[in-house]
């Protein structure tokens, strides 16, 4: 991560030379980021409105849209190396928003040996990738998308449903059977331990989706259809009565231990909102840095931040989406508030500088690089200062 960043990369770009001006991308973009210039007739992308979902990329019939994240080439490259590595002819593609751990995949699909591929929104996958995977000898593809009303990119999940329907018909005609590709929907949901709940009402107050309701007499119930699995309530529950299905507290703790044990000092552990940073499939980070992707910055828990320090992290960085990009109705700003409160407490014991919260936008990948570089330098200085003492 110490390399110098030259030109800022453009996350998504419409290549005018190839564009046929058919406007399919414009009709599918959930964020009205693509418009047609009235005078010139050109299809134009406003990158500041773009949420980098990749739906336009996968839909463009002229292949005129470029993206630096999970494009056809890099996905194919991943499949080529992953197939022998995992030694399996079953591919499980998961939207990050709903991705469980391998035990969860086994529960959902009944497969224990598979090639995992997790992308931010399955709506960004071009059909030819799935066809290419089958051509490579993959016998079965499972796709795990979020529930339609839960899709962070509004249309990604429903669009995928339609595509898979058409694709399976095509594959059937080609003799690959009726269900070469199976789509399931799964969304992260909160779970409550009613024995621990103290009916304080914090989750009721903070939930952006009005999922929890106070029952009388004292207790709480959740409308799971309304819950969108951001994990905010889990991170603030004073009684530790809540957890996130498939993203349990324990799973994060285990990851913290595992990552810190394989790192070299000075160790920087990064908690990323999985929508703020889109890491490359072959992400190579320096031995000083490891990252944990969380369903939302709202799931960033004071426990886990302190646990990281207890287990030997020299610095902890939290990367969240800027408020205007947050797909969870202002949760990232709330996360900032709580992290700053913890930072104030850490300051009292001389650890304040080692915790850093930042907003980074996936459309500007250089922002994360910059934050990481600056924080890395700061931590290095703190550690060497301590070494001198």
């Amino acid at each position: 991560m110490s390399q110098q960043v030259a030109e800022p990369q453009v996350a998504v770009n419409i290549n005018e030379d190839y564009c046929s001006r058919c406007s399919i991308c414009r009709s599918l973009c959930p964020f009205e980021a693509i418009t047609k210039d009235a005078e010139s007739g050109k299809v134009v992308l406003d990158i500041e409105k773009c949420q980098v979902c990749g739906i336009c990329y996968s839909a463009c019939p002229a292949k005129a849209i470029d993206t630096i994240y999970y494009d056809y080439g890099s996905l194919l490259k991943y499949l080529k190396t992953a197939k022998p590595k995992y030694d399996s002819d079953t591919l499980v593609i998961m939207c990050k928003g709903s991705a469980p751990d391998s035990a969860g995949v086994e529960r959902l699909f009944g497969v224990s040996k598979f090639i995992p591929l997790s992308v931010p929104c399955v709506g960004r996958l071009p059909e030819e990738l799935l066809l290419q995977a089958i051509a490579m000898g993959i016998k079965k593809i499972y796709l795990l998308a979020c529930d339609e009303n839960y899709c962070r990119f509004d249309r990604g999940s429903s669009l995928t449903g339609r595509r898979i329907l058409a694709l399976n018909r095509l594959l059937e005609q080609l003799g690959y059977g009726r269900e070469a590709v199976t789509l399931k929907r799964n969304s992260l949901k909160v779970k409550v331990d009613k024995d621990l709940c103290i009916a304080c009402g914090n989750c009721v107050f903070y939930c952006p989706y009005h999922a929890p309701k106070l029952e009388s007499p004292g207790g709480i119930s959740f409308d799971l259809d309304a819950c969108r699995g951001c994990g905010l309530c889990v991170a603030i529950c004073p009684a530790i009565a809540l957890d996130l299905d498939n993203w349990e507290r324990e799973r994060i703790s285990t990851l913290i231990s595992q990552l810190l044990s394989e790192m070299r000092a000075p160790k920087i552990l990064v908690f990323r909102c999985q929508w703020a940073v889109f890491p490359p499939l072959d992400e190579e980070s320096s031995p000083n840095i490891r990252a944990i992707d969380l369903p939302c910055a709202g799931r960033v828990d004071a426990f886990h931040l302190l646990e990281a320090f207890q287990k030997g992290a020299d610095g902890v960085l939290i990367a969240a989406c800027p408020e205007e990009d947050c797909r969870q109705e202002g949760v990232s700003a709330k996360a900032q508030h709580w992290v700053e409160a913890l930072k104030q407490r850490l300051g009292q014991i001389g650890f304040g500088d080692r915790l850093h919260f930042c907003f980074v936008a996936r459309r500007h990948p250089e922002q994360m690089d910059k934050e990481l570089r600056q924080f890395g330098q700061k931590i290095e200085a703190i550690v060497s200062e301590r070494g001198r003492k």
Binding site: P238, F303, L306, L346, I349
Partner: protein
């Protein structure tokens, strides 16, 4: 609710410094913000980190009590947890540590909180404010549900004093004049005639120190 704030960590560290096995006891009761299991756990992590920095090894157990001011509930929650515990660090208001101290006379109990007032919470505004002085002689029925004993800086029973400027108290321009609030509320309720009534001096003996439930 009883409104408290966490003591500076330095002060807590100082008070627990003679001990190495410490039980942090939260309170799920009325303390606000809630000082339950999460707060206990977070505090134990912070203190452990601070201890490590100073080369001191401290072991923390964390637990919580439904209401730490209730001797029955506290005894039943804590008795099984006291094995090897050298001191209890309490996250409750001032009543909690005293209850624990009475139940376990041989174990030092240390407060982690400063208690401030019997207050109300405005969650939208993120504010906790003093509302009740527990005077034992409630006159809210006469004052439109606004307590002058607590909220008037002078504690006047027959206000206003005349010192308010733009609805704010002359003692503290940040603070609303309680008697202006009372006037407006009674006006709204159509009960301004209540202000004609003279309220005789408060019965200070009514502030009881012991009651039977």
């Amino acid at each position: 609710m009883i409104v408290t704030s966490l003591k500076p960590l330095d002060e807590i560290l100082d008070s627990i410094s003679p001990y190495s096995k410490i039980l942090i006891a939260g309170c799920d009761g009325c303390t606000q913000p809630p000082r339950g299991l999460r707060e206990a756990k977070t505090l134990s992590q912070l203190l452990e980190l601070a201890g490590k920095l100073k080369g001191k090894d401290m072991q923390f157990k964390v637990t919580t009590v439904v209401k730490q001011c209730d001797s029955f509930l506290t005894a039943s929650a804590l008795k099984s947890q006291m094995d090897g515990v050298e001191a209890v660090l309490s996250l409750a208001c001032g009543a909690g540590p005293q209850t624990v101290a009475e139940i376990f006379p041989d174990i030092p109990v240390l407060p982690a909180q400063n208690s401030h007032f019997v207050g109300a919470e405005d969650r939208e505004g993120g504010i906790l404010e003093d509302r009740c002085s527990a005077c034992g002689d409630c006159i809210l029925a006469l004052t439109g549900g606004i307590c002058p004993v607590t909220r008037c800086a002078k504690g006047l029973l027959n206000g206003a004093c005349g010192g308010a400027r733009n609805g704010k108290c002359e003692m503290d321009p940040e603070r609303d004049c309680a008697w202006e609030l009372i006037y407006k509320r009674l006006e709204r309720l159509g009960k301004l005639d209540l202000l004609k009534e003279f309220r005789s001096p408060r019965n200070y003996q009514a502030k009881a120190w012991r009651l039977t439930p």
